[in-house]
Structures are given as C-alpha cells and as structure tokens.
Subunit: 155 residues, 2 copies
Amino acid sequence: MTPAIQDLYPEDFAHCFGCGRKNPAGHQLKSYVEGNEVVARFTPEPHHMAIPGFVYGGLLASLADCHAMATAAAAAEVAASRRIGDGPAPRFVTGALKVDYLKPTPLGQELEIRAHVKERSERKAVVAVTISAAGDVRVRAEAVAVRIPQTMIQS
Amino acid sequence: MTPAIQDLYPEDFAHCFGCGRKNPAGHQLKSYVEGNEVVARFTPEPHHMAIPGFVYGGLLASLADCHAMATAAAAAEVAASRRIGDGPAPRFVTGALKVDYLKPTPLGQELEIRAHVKERSERKAVVAVTISAAGDVRVRAEAVAVRIPQTMIQS
C-alpha cells in the first residue's frame, strides 16, 4: 500500500491542523491514492458536533479542504511522471473552497472522503470532493488548490 | 452591551464545535450585533496552523460558517420585530459555504470577523462575511443559512 499523501509532505509543511502528522492537536487526516481517485476515511469525535446527532459543518469543510490539497499534490506527481511515495509530496494551499451540505451528516460513524482533479495546470488544480456516510453522499465540495507561493515559505 | 448571539441559542443547540458555549473542546466563537453588522473577534491558537506562520484555512471556514449562522439568527429576530437578547435565538444550519482565501492569514494575532445579510426569506438567508487581520481583509465568504429543519431536531 502506498503511504498517505500527507505523510510525504516535507517536515516544514507537516503541522497543518487538518492533516499534519506533526500536529498532535489536529485532525491528522490521511489521504490515499486509489486508482484515479484519492480516498480518506475519518470518524469524527463526539465533540465535533453541530447539533446533537450531526457532524459540524466546519469540520466537513476542513476535511474537504485538506483532502483536496492532497489530491492536487498526487496529481502534480503523476503529471511530473512520479508516483506518490517516490519523494516528498508537493504542497498546495487553498485558494477557494465551496461546500454544499446536501444532507445532514450523522455523527458517530466513519466518513468516506473521495476526490478527483477536474482540471489542472502547473500552478493550480480544481478538485471535486464528496463526503459520504453510510454509502450516501452528504457533502459535495470543490476546491481550488494553488502551489504554495514562495512568500508563504518561512526559512 | 447585548449578549453574544451564540449565548442565546437554546440549550439543545449550544454544543456546536465552532461556537457552542457548552462545548469545552470547541472554538466557542462569540458574535455580537454592532449596528447593521455582526462582529466577532477570535485569536487562533498556535496549533490552528496551516503551515508555519499562517492560520489553517479550515478554521477560517469554520469561523465564517458559525458567524454567518449567528448573523442569520440576528436578522431573523429583527425581521420578527425582536432584538437579540429578547429571547432564545433562532437556530440556522449551513446549506452552502463558499470561501475565498484572498491573502494568507497570519497566525498569532486577533482576527476580526464581520458579516451582514445580503438577502433573506423566512426560511433562508444569504450572508456575506469578511475575516481581517491587522485591518486587512484576508478571507471573503458567503454562506446560505437555512432554518433548522424539524428532521434535525432530536427530542
């Protein structure tokens, strides 16, 4: 099995609250390449609540966001004729995020997050994401991923 | 000073991870009516990081989300000829959320979140949100707030 995309982010970019392996207070989302899609599974904690019984929309936006950035990174590797795991994964940041909450998402079960790249250039990717619970799509999102600008890199 | 809108949500709807006063693990955002706008101030924790020096986009989406729902609640009270604080605040849930990350948001300082209702009906409101740091707008968001459906209320 290939490693999680987030586990291949360089050390300096591995502290993200949503998906950083080096952020013990964060969600530590892990996204994996599966065929032409990227898939993550995540079970929200009881405190990730919107109202009793349902998952907080801000968490769902966060999962879509980090998963989309990982999907853009995987696609950039493929475009460069590399595979995820061949080296450090390129790091993208979110330019825009649109989330449609189609149905309430029940709390207390594993969610499946799936994404694919709709279009991409060297600098940007548009990524489509779904979040499902019990086999039923609850959230549809689209993110614009942008290669991290040099101005955001602190050395 | 009027109370925070979230402090007027009924007990059963006060556990939201983003803004519930009864969720000790959550962000506990507090939004206040100021003239025709609703304003909140929030200082992210060091672990709310995207990459070193910058705030996590999923947190910014979460702040915009909860603040927009509070703004819709305040507007519903005004439309019903009540003021925030006259009674429990009506509870809205997020139908859709669009976030544009205009500029990176620096970590380590207070953010100002401002919102107003662009249009509303009895059932829905469209809310425009900005998030600023150091007087400079970093994030622009728009949320569709929907009055909580009966199917989401557990009794």
